[in-house]
Amino acid sequence: MKILVCISNVPDTTTKVKFIDDFKKMDVTGVQWIINPWDELSLTRALELKDNPATGIRSVTVVHVGLVGSEPTIRKALAIGADDAIRINTVPADAYFVAAQLANVLKSESYDLILCGIESSDFNGSSVGGMLAEFLELPSVSSVSGVNVENGQVIMTREIDGGKEILNVPTPVVAIVQKGITKEPRIAAMRGIMMARTKPLKVVEPIAVEALTDSVNYELPKPRAACKFIDCENPRQLIELLQNEAKII
């Protein structure tokens, strides 16, 4: 069985978000780039599955849509343990554009299980996984909080309102992954970092696709009113304020 993990390159979550060019672009000076957290969890789970010889997983490939500046992030994925990587050489215009590029490369490959993080921490679109599945005409399961491979069968846990479903899904399939898939993201060991330099990183050129959406500009949140402090000796006053001032209880 072959697993593919789609990864996007995002600013570290503690980045102070700022804009330039009349609020049209994010200011990327000094930004630390990381693998999108949900994609990192997906990759970790894929590697855990591969580590277990009973699953029959032969390889874990990562794929990314982005320019050469993303390569350190892709090498990080290889350092954590992915076997090889593919980079589609273009700016990721919007989710539809990215999914179309991925589908074009993947349609001639045969991955049994494709993992996508449910959203990226920069655009929060929750789109690429589902779009990719539709382009490839594959089944997809969303809100996946667990993936197992037992006796050649793929068993997924899907989060539903107030509970979970355990599903037996046919392959090939796209799993759109959220928290719960694994406990902690895997960290690259020294050996992994060294091996990452020589693992295959194939660069492919994009196809012509039109994005369906376009960013106009960005805004920063309006500053909230300062916090009103209540004396810790008189917490009952908080309840009074919530009732009479905020009128929320």
Binding site: L41, A95, S140, S142, K164, K228
Partner: protein
Amino acid sequence: MSVLIFVENWDGKFKKLSFELVSYGAKLAEMLDTEVVVLSIGNVDNNELEKLGKYGASRIISAVNTDINVFDSQAYTGIIAGFAKKEAAGVVVLSNNNTGKAIAPRLSVILHAGLGAGVSKLPVSTDPFIIYKKVYSGNAFNNLVIRTDIKILTLSQNSFELIETENRAVITNAVVDWHSSSVKTRIVEVQKQSGKILLTDADVVVSGGRGMKSPDNWGPLVELAEHLGAATACSRPVSDEGWRPHEEHTGQTGKIIAPNLYFAIGISGATQHLAGVSSSKFIVAINTDKDAPIFSAAQYGIVGDAIKILPKLVEAVKELKGK
């Protein structure tokens, strides 16, 4: 042209978020000078369907197919796409919940329709069609143009006010040509947590962090939640330690919620946690550290020991509810 709204049902019943969707869709249809059509899939009584009319639906299509017993993304998307084409939908609106997230992207490809995911208000303009959504995990907002003839929007829960009307909707039944045999996914088991208020549906949430010191201290927190009719939640370290169930973890990689009132008790307010709760209408913070980042996000705060303060809050709420 029409605005088509897909409303999910839970064992034949709708929730507040269903009515939020209809209210939103009705206002959007007004902006576009077109009609609003609501699509329900599954077995829902007319009594329940009529409630949608109250929130502005002029026509309700109830797609009945007793064969559907597993939520399959491909099947649902196919059904909705069929109705979107039949009703010449210019905009399709779904919730930004788990179901909506599973359907909307697939639908976007089938209909060649640009997707605006997680909107919390009506479009900024309709020509060009510009929507406003949160990005960078809530640290910024984006004005996004959707260029296609057909648009798909997913609406964030608890972000749009319910608007009641005198409307009475026309309900028509439709049978969908979809067979369970075409779905290859099999449900092995369903695990349900009974009784508790769903965290994503709760208007009030009481949440605890590492500042609570030990799982043994949770009693008064749970009591406070009970008296407020609130759901309980926790920060990531607390769920990682196993002090509280994973389902309670709110934060960037946990649940993203937008209640009317969020109590952050013994929670420092790390960026990743705030990403999960920043859309709350009111945040109350209790923390021993006056410099904790949570106080920059909170409207009300108490600097002090939660363990001492919680029982006093419980008493105050009991009195309030007793009146």
